[in-house]
C-alpha cells in the first residue's frame, strides 16, 4: 500500500470510530443483545474476519481440502 492509501484508510478509520461514539443507534439498527459499545462493529469485523480465515483453513487442513485429481483418482 502506498503512503496516501494508508493515510486515507487511517483517516476513514478514525472517522468511523469517532462517529461510533457520537451517533446513537436508530430503531432499525438496535445494538445486538443491548451491547452499547461504540466500536462494537469494528471489533466484530476484525474478530469475525480472523475467525473465518482460521476456522475455514483449519477445517480445510483437517479433512476438507484434497488434491485436485481427488475425484479422478477415486
Amino acid at each position: 500500500m502506498t503512503l496516501w492509501q494508508r493515510a486515507a484508510l487511517s483517516l476513514l478509520t478514525l472517522i468511523a470510530l469517532a462517529c461510533g461514539f457520537l451517533i446513537s443507534h436508530d430503531p432499525e439498527h438496535p445494538p445486538p443483545y443491548g451491547i452499547e459499545l461504540p466500536v462494537f462493529y469494528a471489533l466484530f469485523g476484525w474478530a469475525g474476519c480472523v475467525a473465518i480465515i482460521f476456522v475455514a483453513k483449519a477445517l480445510g487442513k483437517l479433512f476438507l481440502q484434497k488434491t485436485e485429481n481427488y475425484y479422478d483418482r477415486a
Partner: protein, 587 residues
C-alpha cells in the same frame, strides 16, 4: 393485454394476458430460423418484448385454461412476480449483450429458453405450470454447462442434470400428493406443517435454492459452465427458487435457520476455493441465505428485504460472473494459483468487477447496501439478535473473499507473465449496464422499494447504519491485510456434500448402466443363437417328424401348395368366426 372473444370457451368476452416467459421460449425456437448474422441482435429483442409484455399484464389471473378436470393458470401476476419477472427479463438482456460475440446458436437458444422458464415460473398460477417451466429451466441450463465443451463440464453437466431431475421428481410427487388431498393445482401459500406433500415441494425448491445439504450441484457446476452461460445461471435458478419460497412458504421458521446456516456455509467454503468462479458460486449460496432467512421470518419487511436482495443480487452477481468470465475468456485461466498481476492489462474489467464487489459487500452507494441491510434490519426489528450477528458475520466473509481476496490474487497478485487476449465489446457493454444498475439502485433505492410486494418504509442511509457498515468493512480489511498470506490460493479441491454421490457414482453407474448394458448384450447373443437355430430348422421342418424325416427328400417347392391350402382354410375359418362374432354382437 389481448382481448379474445369467447375464449376460453366458458367465458364471454375476456381479457387474456400472455405469459411474458412465452416470448423468450418462442424466441428460443425462432432464433435458429433467422439469418446467422442477426441472431446476436435478435436475442436482445426478445427480453425487451418480454419486459414490455410484463408491464402490460394485469394483476390477478391473466390466462387460465381447463386441463382435464383442473384449472391451469398459465399467467398470474402480482407485485412479487412483477419484481422477479422484471429482473429475469433485464438480466436476460444484459446476458445477451455480454454474450453478443457467441456464435453457437444452441447456446443462445438454451439461454433464452432458460430465461423463459424462469419468467414462466414467476408468472405461474398453478403447480403444474410451475413444474413444466421448472423442468425447462433444468434442461436448458444443463446445456449451458455442456457448452463449455470440456471433459469436466460434460461430467458436471450430467451430475447437474441428475440432481435437478431428482428435484423435479420430488416436486412432481409433492404436487400429485397435494392434488390428491385438495383436488386443486392452484399455487397458493402453504401454511407451515409437516404434511408430506408440502415437505416434498419444499425439498425440491430448497434444492434449486441451493440450501445445504442440497446445494453442492451449484458449486460443482457453475465454475464449469461456459463463460456466458454462467452469467445466466448465476441469476436464474436460485432466484426463481427464492421467488417460489416467498410465494408458497413465507413464514416457515425452519427457513430462517437454514438461511442463516447457508449464509455462513458459503462464506467458509469460499475461503478454501481456488477457482474464481467457484468462490463466486459459494457466495451465491451465502447471499441466497439472506433471502431464505428473510422468507423464513415472513414479516412484510423481511419479505420485502428478500425480494429486494434477490433483485440486487442478480445484478451484482451477474456482474461478478461477467468480470470473472472476462478473465477466463481472455486468459484461459480461472484459478487463483494461476492468476495474478492483471490490473494493468485489464483495468476496465477490474473497475467493473469492483463495482460488483462493492455491491455484494454492502458498501454505501451500491445496491447491496440497500437490500441486504433490509433483511438484517427485519431481523433486528424482530429482536432476533443472533440472526443479526450471524448475517453480519456472513457479510464480513463476503467482503473478505469477493471484495479483497479474489481481486487481490487475480489483479494485484504477483505477475505471472499472462498476456490477456482482447475482450469483446459486448462483454464491456453487458458489464457496464449491470454496473450502472448497481450504482443507480444504490443511490436511488426508492426506484426499487416502490415496487416491492409490501409498502416499504425502510431507510438504509441512516447515520447509525453508515457507521456500523464503515466499522465492519474497515476492520474486515485490516483482518485480511494482517493475515492475507493465509488466503493465497491452493491447488486443491474442497470436499462438499457432492462427495456422497460422486464417490458411489461409479458403483451406481456399474449397477444401473454397465450391468444393464451387459444384460442386453447377453440377450442379443441368445437371440442370435435362437434365430440361427430356427433358420437351420426352417431349411427342413420334416426333420422334427421322425416318420417323414429325411435330409435329402425335402423340397420347399413340393410342400408349398399344400401349405398354402392349409393356411387358406385357417384364414377362412378365422374370417367366418369373426363375422359370426360380429353378428352376435350386433344382435
Amino acid at each position: 393485454m389481448i382481448a379474445l372473444r369467447g375464449w376460453p370457451p366458458h367465458a364471454g368476452v375476456c381479457s387474456v394476458a400472455l405469459p411474458p416467459g412465452w416470448v423468450l421460449l418462442l424466441g428460443a425456437l425462432l432464433l435458429p430460423l433467422m439469418p446467422r448474422r442477426i441472431r446476436s441482435a435478435a436475442f436482445l429483442v426478445f427480453p425487451i418484448l418480454a419486459l414490455a409484455l410484463l408491464s402490460q399484464v394485469p394483476d390477478g389471473k391473466g390466462l387460465s385454461v381447463a386441463f382435464m378436470n383442473y384449472e391451469l393458470v398459465l399467467c398470474q401476476a402480482n407485485r412479487l412476480s412483477r419484481v422477479f419477472g422484471a429482473i429475469f427479463g433485464l438480466i436476460a438482456f444484459i446476458g445477451g449483450l455480454y454474450a453478443f460475440h457467441v456464435r453457437r446458436t444452441a447456446e443462445r437458444m438454451a439461454a433464452l429458453g432458460y430465461a423463459g422458464g424462469a419468467l414462466g415460473v414467476a408468472f405461474a398460477g398453478d403447480y403444474l405450470t410451475l413444474f413444466i417451466h421448472w423442468e425447462i429451466m433444468a434442461i436448458s441450463s444443463t446445456y449451458l454447462i455442456w457448452a463449455r465443451e470440456t471433459r469436466e463440464s460434460e461430467a458436471a453437466g450430467v451430475r447437474y442434470l441428475v440432481v435437478h431431475l431428482v428435484g423435479g421428481v420430488l416436486m412432481l410427487a409433492g404436487i400429485l400428493l397435494r392434488l390428491h388431498h385438495t383436488g386443486s393445482l392452484l399455487l397458493t401459500p402453504l401454511p407451515p406443517s409437516t404434511d408430506l406433500s408440502s415437505l416434498l415441494i419444499l425439498a425440491s425448491v430448497a434444492l434449486n435454492a441451493a440450501v445445504p445439504p442440497l446445494h453442492a450441484w451449484l458449486a460443482d457446476a457453475y465454475p464449469k459452465a461456459s463463460v456466458t452461460g454462467a452469467v445466466f445461471m448465476s441469476a436464474l435458478t436460485t432466484k426463481s427458487a427464492v421467488y417460489v419460497l416467498a410465494r408458497v412458504f413465507p413464514g416457515w421458521e425452519v427457513l430462517t435457520l437454514f438461511g442463516v446456516a447457508m449464509a455462513l456455509y458459503g462464506v467458509f467454503y469460499a475461503v478454501l476455493a481456488n477457482d474464481i468462479r467457484e468462490i463466486l458460486a459459494y457466495h451465491i449460496i451465502s447471499q441466497v441465505g439472506y433471502m431464505v432467512a428473510g422468507v423464513g421470518m415472513g414479516t412484510p419487511m423481511a419479505l420485502n428485504g428478500a425480494t429486494a436482495h434477490a433483485f440486487c443480487h442478480i445484478l451484482y452477481k451477474a456482474l461478478l460472473f461477467m468480470g470473472a468470465g472476462a478473465v477466463l475468456h481472455t486468459t484461459g485461466r480461472s484459478k487463483l494459483t494461476e492468476l495474478g498481476g492483471l490490473a494493468r492489462a485489464m483495468p476496465w474489467a477490474l473497475a467493473l468487477y469492483m463495482i460488483g464487489a462493492f455491491s455484494i459487500s454492502g458498501f454505501p452507494l451500491f445496491n447491496g447496501f440497500i437490500s441486504k441491510s433490509m433483511v438484517v434490519a427485519a431481523a433486528a426489528v424482530a429482536h432476533r439478535d443472533t440472526v443479526v450477528l450471524l448475517l453480519n458475520l456472513a457479510s464480513i466473509g463476503t467482503f473478505l473473499s469477493i471484495g479483497v481476496k479474489l481481486p487481490h490474487s487475480t489483479w494485484f497478485g504477483p505477475p505471472r507473465g499472462i498476456q490477456p487476449g482482447p475482450t469483446p465489446m459486448g462483454m464491456f457493454l453487458g458489464m457496464g449496464l449491470a454496473a450502472a444498475c448497481c450504482i443507480l439502485l444504490g443511490v436511488a433505492p426508492s426506484l426499487l422499494y416502490q415496487h416491492l410486494p409490501y409498502p416499504a418504509h425502510f431507510k438504509p442511509y441512516t447515520p447509525a447504519h453508515l457507521v456500523e457498515t464503515a466499522q465492519l468493512l474497515l476492520f474486515t480489511f485490516f483482518g485480511f491485510w494482517m493475515f492475507r498470506r493465509y488466503l493465497a490460493g491452493e491447488p486443491t479441491v474442497t470436499l462438499d456434500t457432492d462427495w456422497f454421490y460422486r464417490g458411489p457414482a461409479r458403483v451406481v453407474c456399474g449397477v444401473l448402466v454397465v450391468s444393464v448394458d451387459r444384460a442386453f448384450d447377453l440377450f442379443d447373443r441368445w437371440a442370435l443363437l435362437i434365430v440361427r437355430a430356427l433358420a437351420a430348422f426352417a431349411r427342413n421342418p420334416l426333420r422334427l417328424l421322425p416318420p417323414f424325416a429325411s435330409d435329402t427328400d425335402y423340397s420347399p417347392d413340393r410342400c408349398r401348395p399344400s401349405t398354402q391350402r392349409l393356411l387358406a382354410c385357417v384364414l377362412l375359418a378365422f374370417v367366418l368366426l369373426s363375422l359370426w362374432g360380429l353378428y352376435r354382437l350386433a344382435l
